[in-house]
C-alpha cells in the first residue's frame, strides 16, 4: 500500500480548505451566527459534528433563545476565531455552565426557582474532587448527566434527569465494569436498586417521589453518605423510624462499631419491603445476624414478633367473621370501619420495632387488641343473629311448603271425590 507523508497530508488539507472557501466565499467572509452554524453542521457527514445541530432545537436552552455562540464563543459581527471554543475541555465544563448557572441575577430571568449553587456543590462531590484535585477527566461533569445539545428539564419524561430515568443515567457509568475498573468500586448498584421496594414504588406504582440515586447521594454534590449519617438520609422520608432508632441503644453501638444505621438491617441499594420474618429464630433473619442464641435481645425480638403476630391473627380473625356476617346480609359496616384502626396499630407497632423495646411495641398494639376484641364480639353477635334468622326462615319455609302441599292434597282429594261420585251416579 502506498504511504503518504505528513507534508502531503497537510498539502491536501490546505487544498481542500481552499476549495471549501472558494465554493462558499460568503460563508468565509460573513461573521458567525447560530443559524449559520446549524446550516453547515446539519449537512456534515461526521455525526459528531452534525448531531449537535440536529438535536439542539429540542434543548431547553434553544427554547429560551440561546444558541451555539453562547457556549462555543465566536462573537457575532467579529472575527469568527475570536473566543471560539470548538469542543470545551471536560475540566472547563463546570465553569462554562456555571458562567450562567451560578449567576443568580442572570438565572432569575429564566427560572427564578432554579438553584445557582450546582457548581459549588459539584466541587464537594466525589466527581468534582477527582476532577479538580486529581485532574481526572473521566469523572462525570455537567454534560454526563445533562447531555449537551439535548438538555431537557427534570420535569420532562424524556429528560435524563427525570426521576424515573435517574437510575439509568447514573448506571450509564456506574454499572459499566470497564469504566469503573480504575476506581475499584462495585457496579451492581443499579441491578440491586432495581430489585428494591423504592424502584417498585417508582416504576410500578408511579410514585415519582420514591428515592432514586440522587435522593440519598445528592445530585450535584453526589457522594456516598458517611456511616453515621445513613440514618439521617433515610430519615428524610422515614422520620418515625429514624427518631426511634436514634433514641435506641443501637444508634450509639452502631457508630462505635462503624456500622451504618438503617443499612445494616435493610441493605442499601437492594432495600426490600420489610416483613415480620425479619424477627424469627432463623440464621438468615435480620436480627439473628448479630444476636446469637441465648442472647437476651434475641428473647426480646422474639417477644416482639409474638406480639405482632398475635394482633395480626386477631385482626384477620375479626376481619373474617365480619366479612362472613356482611356476606350473610348483616349490617356490620360500623364494626368494619372501626376495625381499620387495628391495621394502623399494627403498622405503628412495626415502626416501633426501631425502638427495640418490647414495651414500646406492646403500647402501640394495646389499642389494636381492644379494637379486634370488640370487632370479634360484634361479628360473633351478628353471626348469632344471622343463625337465628336462618332458623326462623327454615321454620317459615317448612310451614309455607306444608301449606302448599296441603292445598295440593286437598285439591287432589276434591278431584278424587268428584270422580268417585260421577262414577257411582
Amino acid at each position: 500500500m502506498e504511504t503518504v507523508s505528513r507534508a502531503q497530508v497537510r498539502a491536501l488539507a490546505l487544498a481542500a480548505a481552499g476549495l471549501v472557501l472558494a465554493a462558499a466565499p460568503a460563508a468565509a467572509q460573513s461573521p458567525p451566527s447560530d443559524a449559520r452554524c446549524v446550516q453547515c453542521h446539519r449537512q456534515l457527514a461526521d455525526t459528531n459534528l452534525s448531531r449537535p445541530a440536529r438535536l439542539f432545537p429540542t434543548d431547553i436552552h434553544a427554547k429560551f433563545g440561546f444558541g451555539c455562540l453562547d457556549c462555543h464563543g465566536g462573537e457575532t459581527g467579529k472575527d469568527s476565531a475570536a473566543g471560539f471554543i470548538a469542543k470545551p475541555n471536560r475540566k472547563d465544563i463546570p465553569a462554562l455552565c456555571g458562567r450562567c448557572h451560578s449567576d443568580a441575577q442572570f438565572m432569575k430571568q429564566y427560572d427564578p426557582s432554579l438553584r445557582v449553587d450546582q457548581v459549588e456543590e459539584y466541587k464537594t462531590s466525589v466527581h468534582g474532587k477527582r476532577l479538580f484535585e486529581f485532574g481526572d477527566t473521566n469523572v462525570a461533569v455537567c454534560i454526563s448527566c445533562h447531555p449537551a445539545h439535548e438538555i431537557r428539564p427534570p420535569s420532562d419524561p424524556e429528560s435524563t434527569v427525570y426521576a424515573l430515568n435517574v437510575p439509568a443515567t447514573c448506571g450509564h457509568c456506574h454499572a459499566d465494569p470497564k469504566r469503573m475498573a480504575p476506581y475499584h468500586i462495585p457496579t451492581d448498584q443499579l441491578a440491586q436498586y432495581k430489585t428494591s421496594v423504592h424502584w417498585e414504588w417508582m416504576s410500578k406504582q408511579g410514585d415519582l417521589s420514591a428515592p432514586a440515586c440522587n435522593d440519598c447521594h445528592g445530585n450535584h454534590g453526589a457522594a456516598p453518605p458517611g456511616v453515621a449519617s445513613v440514618k439521617n438520609v433515610c430519615g428524610q422520608c422515614h422520620s418515625t423510624m429514624m427518631t426511634l432508632f436514634t433514641g435506641s441503644g443501637h444508634a450509639d453501638y452502631f457508630v462505635q462499631r462503624d456500622l451504618p444505621g438503617c443499612e445494616t438491617c435493610h441493605s442499601n441499594h437492594a432495600i426490600h419491603a420489610p416483613s415480620d420474618s425479619f424477627l424469627v429464630e432463623m440464621a438468615d433473619s435480620v436480627c439473628a445476624m448479630c444476636h446469637q442464641p441465648g442472647d437476651s435481645a434475641r428473647v426480646a425480638f422474639l417477644a416482639i414478633r409474638h406480639l405482632i403476630d398475635s394482633l395480626r391473627v386477631a385482626r384477620d380473625s375479626a376481619t373474617a367473621i365480619l366479612d362472613r356476617a356482611q356476606q350473610a346480609g348483616m349490617e356490620v359496616s360500623q364494626a368494619q370501619f372501626e376495625l381499620a384502626d387495628a391495621k394502623d396499630a399494627l403498622l405503628k407497632a412495626r415502626s416501633a420495632i426501631h425502638s427495640f423495646s418490647v414495651d414500646t411495641v406492646a403500647a402501640q398494639l394495646k389499642s389494636g387488641f381492644a379494637i379486634t376484641t370488640h370487632a370479634e364480639q360484634r361479628g360473633a353477635a351478628a353471626m348469632h343473629e344471622h343463625l337465628f334468622r336462618r332458623e326462623g326462615l327454615a321454620v317459615a319455609v317448612l310451614l309455607i311448603l306444608g301449606v302448599i302441599a296441603g292445598i295440593w292434597l286437598l285439591i287432589r282429594e276434591i278431584e278424587h271425590r268428584q270422580k268417585h261420585s260421577s262414577r257411582s251416579s
Partner: protein, 149 residues
C-alpha cells in the same frame, strides 16, 4: 289417540293453570331462600355523597373530625381561616387513617409521620400522593360531603 292431541277443555286448562301456579309458588318461596343462604358477593361501597352526623358548628376553627364515607374514613376540617374542607382520610402511603394536628395546622399520619397541607397535598414523610378532596356543602345545620364530579 294420544292425550296431547285431545282438545283443550276448560277443566284441563284450569288443571294446567293450577299446576303451574303451584310450581311458581314453590319457586317464589325457594328462590329468595336460596339467595339468602348463598348471597351474592358484596361490592365496594359506591356511596357518592354523605350527610355528616354532626352540624357545622361542632367543627371549631383549626380542628378536624373523622367521618364515615361509604366504608372508608374521610376527614373534615375547618382551617384557621374558617373554611370547611374534606378529604379521604386514608394515607396514600400504607393506608392508615390520617388525623388533624391543631398544633401544626396540618393533616398528619401517625403511622410513618407523613404530613399533608390544608389542601391535602403531601408535603413531608413517605406519602407519595395527595389526599383525594371532597366537595363540602353546608345546608342549614347539615354538612353534605360528596365526591368531586
Amino acid at each position: 289417540m294420544s292425550d296431547t292431541s285431545a282438545p283443550v277443555t276448560r277443566k284441563r286448562f284450569v288443571r294446567w293453570l293450577l299446576g303451574t301456579s303451584v310450581g311458581g309458588l314453590v319457586a317464589a318461596v325457594l328462590y329468595p331462600v336460596t339467595r339468602y343462604i348463598i348471597p351474592p358477593k358484596v361490592g365496594e361501597s359506591a356511596a357518592s355523597s354523605v350527610t355528616l352526623p354532626f352540624p357545622p358548628t361542632e367543627i371549631a376553627k383549626n380542628t378536624g373530625r373523622i367521618f364515615k364515607f361509604g366504608n372508608k374514613p374521610g376527614i373534615i376540617l375547618r382551617t384557621p381561616n374558617g373554611d370547611l374542607r374534606a378529604f379521604t382520610a386514608v394515607c396514600t402511603h400504607l393506608g392508615c387513617t390520617v388525623q388533624y394536628r391543631s398544633d401544626l395546622s396540618e393533616i398528619w399520619c401517625a403511622c410513618h409521620n407523613g404530613t399533608y397541607d390544608l389542601n391535602g397535598r403531601n408535603i413531608s414523610g413517605p406519602p407519595p400522593k395527595p389526599l383525594t378532596p371532597f366537595d363540602v356543602r353546608v345546608r342549614g345545620t347539615q354538612i353534605v360531603v360528596s365526591r368531586k364530579a
